[in-house]
Symmetry: C2
Subunit: 115 residues, 2 copies
Amino acid sequence: MSNLQEQANQLEQALRESKEFQDLKQAYEAVMSDEIAKQMFENFRETQLNLQEKHMQGQDISEEEIEKARQIVETVQQHDAISKLMEEEQKLNNVINEISQTITKPLEELYGAAE
Amino acid sequence: MSNLQEQANQLEQALRESKEFQDLKQAYEAVMSDEIAKQMFENFRETQLNLQEKHMQGQDISEEEIEKARQIVETVQQHDAISKLMEEEQKLNNVINEISQTITKPLEELYGAAE
Ligand SMILES: [Ca+2]
Ligand SMILES: [Ca+2]
């Protein structure tokens, strides 16, 4: 195994063991173990993904669709377990963004040096 | 420093020392040290970025712009130092994609488990 792959595996292990990932896992499992929360969350994710897909394909998104999505967001935000999960997702996103910024530093330095 | 940040730093160091990054660095410096190649490459990158930006903002891209971009790509591909650089960029992209797949495995497992 290359040193690069070994270091990537070690980082993956550290992420898996991190408080942020463990908190996310717990919040995710709490939602998934509640049938109503699970359905609400899956409905929310499906709506988000559909809108994202339409947006990326340059398709028009109707007023009704935007309004429906807005209502779904409002509803899930009021559900304690789901809003907790979304909060933990955001925290892990921040961690991953920081990691990503760290490991792409060599590229930034290389391409930035030309400015 | 958290174990996570320490592992990210070690991975960054491994990437910096990798053959793929060193080869990219060498290819980049070869292009940057040749005034004509440098200008061609920067013109190419600017054109790509402009088109990407327009695309992401949903702006129309004219036939002329597409044709101009196609010609620029053709020209830079025929320049040995630039095509070498583009090849090394592709190789490093592959490395970074592999790293990214490795470190997001915990998330994939968590969210995949619900299917
Ligand atoms: Ca420049
Ligand atoms: Ca390590």
